[in-house]
Symmetry: C2
Subunit: 125 residues, 2 copies
């Protein structure tokens, strides 16, 4: 897979709810950084964070508006949709940068968004 | 110029403080959207906004960490540095998406960042 195809597959795994397949595209030492928050280091910590985050979520519907690659870096513009188990829906406008290693795995993922938008969209019903 | 070269020149004009040259790369009907704020429509409104915004700023120092193009869309990952006239410094972590028209001018610019980071960095001394 090209770096862009890997990132497209990664986003596809979020949308199909396959956390194992999503993490299988990440290098063990990945740095996952939601920019307004602290970075998460490594796939074990990433799995823990994602599983906690997904506990109330039934389905992801992340729409990629734009994607472009330059060497082993892939940049995306997305709207990340989430359907909660109680039926509510959230949508976050986000851009994300991905860096891939020589083995084709994702070594860094940085998402840029407005924390207030996230808090508003994820506010309890 | 390629779309990527146009965006690189556009950022260069911010860094050299040349608002006229920056706007000359924008289509009249540009939509300039700092995502956490309302979009600005057209170069006249954009000039007014930028000139107001720049009133207290001596120098921009925007560093492009990554840039990638896909057709007429260019995506960037940056740290936008600002030196105020009173010597203070601000830095905003941002990703930006640019769309270019057939004539090579920028028709859309969307910047994604955390509004709380912006407010904190731009807080009065």
């Amino acid at each position: 897979m090209t770096p862009q195809q890997t990132v497209e597959a990664f986003i596809g795994h979020w949308n199909s709810g396959d956390i194992d397949a999503m993490l299988a595209l990440c290098a063990d030492g990945i740095v996952y950084h939601n920019i307004p928050m602290e970075p998460v280091h490594g796939t074990a910590a990433m799995r823990s964070m994602v599983e906690g985050f997904m506990a109330d979520i039934a389905k992801c519907d992340w729409e990629t508006h734009a994607i472009a690659a330059n060497g082993s870096t892939v940049l995306t513009e997305r709207t990340d949709g989430f359907t909660f188990k109680d039926g509510r829906h959230a949508a976050i406008r986000v851009m994300g940068a991905f860096e891939l290693g020589a083995d084709g795995l994702i070594t860094a993922w940085r998402d840029y968004f407005d924390m207030a938008e996230f808090a508003r969209e994820f506010a309890p019903a």
